[in-house]
Symmetry: C5
Subunit: 339 residues, 5 copies
């Protein structure tokens, strides 16, 4: 395919995408929920936020791309939902794409949804992969007249959206930590085959999580160093704070990965420890009976001249001897700490 | 050998190489399929693309080198099909060499083919190791009058070829992921000796893949930072996008390598888990029979005075005792979770 | 939540925070212990140190933030007690947050407490997570009229507090080393299930310790390179010395982690060595008795014609034979170093 | 010892070193084989190459050092045959030392020989550790009037010698790859104790190889960036090409090391797989006989009233029962995939 | 403790420290061995070397610090014998601290002793932790009128001392290599429990060695880049050479660490190989006797009608059968390569 060809790489979705629009400044908030696909124009006195939920409608994306003069490669990235997180600045705006992280609990699974933003002078286009709204908390803050977001430009809005996305990573990390604790308890308690599969899956998932956060860190770092005319210095303090959060997330993931590896080693040694204990006990039982069985074999022999066989208490004497051997062996094994 | 000596390092190929030529600009496309080896000259009004398929004809390469004033070290690199991917700029053009990745399925195998390009003012020489055409899609786009490639110079053509090569890596990565999934299923299902060999081979192959992509990343990075008079700024956006793709490929390979290692560990623990289970069951069977056999031995003894032997129901009583011991042991082992 | 929203993330604490205040210069020290929450103002002729112990009172923090014109993000960081150590400079001061490390002995556990500082012109605000005073030694030095701290500004006071925190890391490291030695002794002596759990916990703790020291190193490095008007050059020598200490702590932690990993490997090999020894001895006992029992079985057979059975000393001869076999086998196993 | 003290650190060698001399320019080649140790002087119209084979004669080296004004540390490095590869530039010349790699086949072993060069204005001194000539191919090219080496200066001659050394690394790498393949075949076929020792040795050798190539890469990198008056720009293209080769060698060694580690893991799992198979079969045999032996024990008992013993076909019935048990167990084990 | 507080952190040492003094220039050497603690003053026409052996006398160090105007942090570092190697430059001199490495042989142990230097204009203060003189070879060279050290300043003297320290690392490395070889021989010959402990200790020691050399490399690197008025350019060539040595030492330690890890793996596989061999042989013996014992059991049964028992040669026939089974099994196990 030629580069810049627009293809939607997600699962087939029917239905029209959900386009909502907010225009606000310090004094006023206007909110539309558009069924017609013609987005109203941005306006110099307001910050205009177009939120497109569902990116499967290629024509719509193309039309938006033309209206706002967006580079075809950016449009391609918006539609390609397996895109690596990145930050790119163009002359007439900047582009950010990253992944929203969700954590399902039963069975434990990590899911991601792509979120992209194009930020221009006085407006912001956000593209969510699915129709469900990820940003109700931001809308709420916009509707609050005293909130900081009302005093600032589209760059701060971009930061607020990013911050919401990054905050959700912490929730997912908490779930992962809980899952690690749960698996550790299983390992030290009663590890089964499920435990092994659980650790293996968590390992694979943390690998994939790391793969998606590493470029995110890089993207936010670029954002925090960007010198774009549409980004105000006052916003930069917040972006650098955001960057610190992403670095902390990355560190935490690395620590979790080491913990999961440690957990796997612990599982292996636990399994082999239990197995060895079983084998040891069973082998000791065999070892105790072997000389006893030998003695029984001796007195089952048919030699004509075996004086012990004639003794009146020979049989009971043998029982006594066997008991003595049994006690001696058990004591010996105890002393050797084998039992 | 003196440096710059031209030696073809591939397998012996008979037959003449396949040289095809396209000249195009925004208005016109001319296509030749040359049997005579004299390549027509480049022309200022067109972008001229010489595509040489098969590099085993040293004389031809030497002649081309002289016509286009190419440095002998570049010619040596074109002929050496084990060349490390690289980007080099010279005064009168720039040189790129990289590897095309193919993935055979049964048996699973990764194969590569070297592709080199010399890009000069208004022309591009591409050298493919084998005769089969790797770039039909690019030819198609050139024949399409409204495609972007028709508006641009030889630098964009170079990008388009590189992009085609890199896009094929994604296909191979998908195959590898499928292979990992298939092996994981085998491991968790019914792992045999084939599984082990399969994981080992995939490990070696991913190592070699990494070895060839690492310098590719470096080469594309150099391309994306190059300040060469023949590379236009408008092309650079695309090259940087290409670089992002290569970085993503590299990340994916690293993730796959970690996954393959995890798979190997899983295989080992699975095998040892199964083996241990077998041993445990067998050992438990032995352990149950050992005291029973001991008892049978006792009553096979020939002591003159063994009162139990005279009891009328002694024999059946013993059977009852043995059954009781059997049940007790099984219950005990159950309770200990050994069975 | 909107960024800059003040939330206390620690455990619920009742009671008022403990605010103490010291004002000093080369000639004079004034010390207050304030029950009313209105902090007295900073004064140009003194260094004023406000020490707030307990940060659960959001209103107080907010009020302090307003009085000293502190950025809302800084206040948020002070309240978030899971904050990554960092150094940030603002126009009207600089901010440092880090973690105090404590080491509990029975059971062995590492605990941390967050300490934050805001350093402005002529004053320093320190925020301790808990109410117990971490800095009595610094107060003592301030009360000593000939100590260096009395001659210097708020930047040196900041250094003195940081230095106290970092010095406590050494104590914790000593505890860890002692714990490693203790576990090593256990491993080489009589390793039990506790040992394994102990090594695992130490591994996890050293991982978490590393996670908190790595950003500390970065923070102190930024401090040591900072060019802030409130930091004097004479203080910088001390900060660089502090940085050397943090680097040494980091190195030591890395060395400890490698040692703990080595210890775990040693534990595993020790366990498997012991287990193998038990199994070997038991197997050898079985192996010795097997041919003897076979012989007893032979002479327990009921064939009509078995000449040995009629021999007068057959029985005693067999005992002699068995003894000979026993001795031969033991000697053989000794020679093979199996016993 | 004081630095700059000249000590030969190699094995004792008797006999005089072999000093040969070539003087050439585009028109003329003069070759001497000097028995007297007085080297003829360099001459402005020629490139003069002094090739000293054998560096055990300290006096000779000292004398050469004085004639050509070479820094005592350089002389010390020439004599210390365990020197790390390096490139150093001085005002009156530059110094390169590196190691020639040889690969012995039966038994497989890697050997190195030190090669040092001092390059001044119009002359080059090369020092080979041993007497055998490593550079006959370079001499041949010098004797060829149309070769590039005849047109260039002493810097290109240095490059040509380095290139010859580096080319030999490829041969050794090929031998290593062959050895890896051979060991892999052994591992998958019939691994013995030799295989283990072979893999271990290859591991150690690849470690040592890596240790010697890493500084070589650094040295050639310095050469390729050097701005020395005696190095012409036209030579630099070749040195950068050489650097690419060294990087490729380094990559290949790293890949080989990973392959050798993978091979070792494969060996271990192969050994344990085979061992487990043996143990499993033997244990199954035991397990089958245990219930049969128990039954035989039962009917060897001497109870007075055991009705089965009186049955006419009791004995044959028991045989039938035992056969049935045998078949049932074998079928069961087959079904469980234990056999 | 306040920073800059002087505390000696080594073991209690009684007795006065040993202070010796040399003053020299190209013409003259004056040597004193001072019992009174008043060091004679430095003099512009000489290089004056104060060598303080034993740093437990805090008063002396304090007095020296005052006489030579040394920063209190430097004095603290001299007294803290667990100091990380470092290089620091001050306006009136520069400070170096590093560790002297000793290698005890029976039992194998690595020991270090701290050496610090303060280098000012025309004088050098060296502080050795213990009383025994580490630098007799340097004194000898100073007494030699033609040695280079007599022509140079205090900077070259500092280099000469550092070089002596670094040279001793090579001796220790040789001991380590010898120890590795000795342990490898043990592993491949007759590995015991001592071998395991030996490898473990060597591992820990190489970890600690690495920890102390890594900052040394950094310190010498800083020295080699320092632009201090008291360091002459001519000395710098030597310092850079010294840096190369430290890098080589670091590489060697890394290689040794990999070798020790490889050795440990080899030990583990060797132990498990031997154990497996023992178990295999013993299990095979059991397996051979099991069917034989079963047969003996069969003919020990008391069935009334067992025709074989009546056969005249039944007993001997059974012996023959058993022998045949024995031979058949041994041949089978041989064929399977189990024996």
């Amino acid at each position: 395919m030629a580069p810049g060809t627009l293809i939607f790489t997600g699962k087939d979705v029917s239905g029209e995408p959900n386009v909502s629009l907010m225009q606000f400044n310090a004094n006023e908030v206007k909110e539309y929920h558009l069924k017609d696909k013609n987005p109203p124009a941005a306006h110099g006195d307001y910050v205009t936020w177009f939120d497109i939920r569902g990116v499967h409608d290629i024509e719509l994306i193309e039309q938006i791309g033309k209206s706002f003069v967006i580079h075809p490669l950016v449009l391609e990235d918006i539609l390609d939902i397996h895109q690596r997180p990145k930050f790119e600045d163009y002359e007439n705006g900047f582009f950010i794409t990253l992944r929203w992280l969700k954590c399902k609990k039963e069975p434990f699974e990590l899911e991601t949804e792509q979120v992209s933003m194009w930020v221009g002078q006085g407006f912001l286009l956000s593209f969510q992969e699915l129709e469900s709204d990820l940003f109700p908390s931001v809308r709420e803050r916009i509707n609050n007249p005293v909130s900081r977001i009302r005093q600032r430009g589209s760059d701060y809005l971009a930061y607020a959206l990013l911050d919401t996305v990054v905050d959700h990573y912490y929730l997912a990390l908490d779930e992962i930590e809980e899952r690690i604790d749960q698996l550790e308890e299983e390992v030290l308690g009663d590890p089964g085959n499920d435990t092994k599969a659980g650790i293996h899956q968590l390992k694979v998932q943390s690998l994939q999580l790391r793969k998606s956060v590493a470029p995110l860190r890089e993207a936010i770092a670029r954002f925090s160093r960007a010198e774009h005319p549409y980004i105000q210095e006052a916003t930069m303090v917040y972006v650098r704070d955001l960057f610190d959060h992403v670095v902390q997330i990355m560190d935490t993931i690395d620590t979790y990965r080491d913990m999961i590896n440690g957990l796997y080693d612990l599982y292996l040694s636990e399994i082999s420890f239990r197995m060895n204990n079983v084998m040891k006990v069973l082998t000791i039982i065999s070892t105790i009976f072997i000389p006893l069985t030998f003695l029984a074999g001796i007195y089952g022999m048919n030699f004509e001249y075996m004086p012990e066989l004639k003794w009146h208490y020979g049989y009971f004497g043998l029982w006594a001897l066997m008991l003595a051997i049994l006690v001696a062996l058990v004591l010996l094994f105890r002393k050797q700490k084998w039992l």
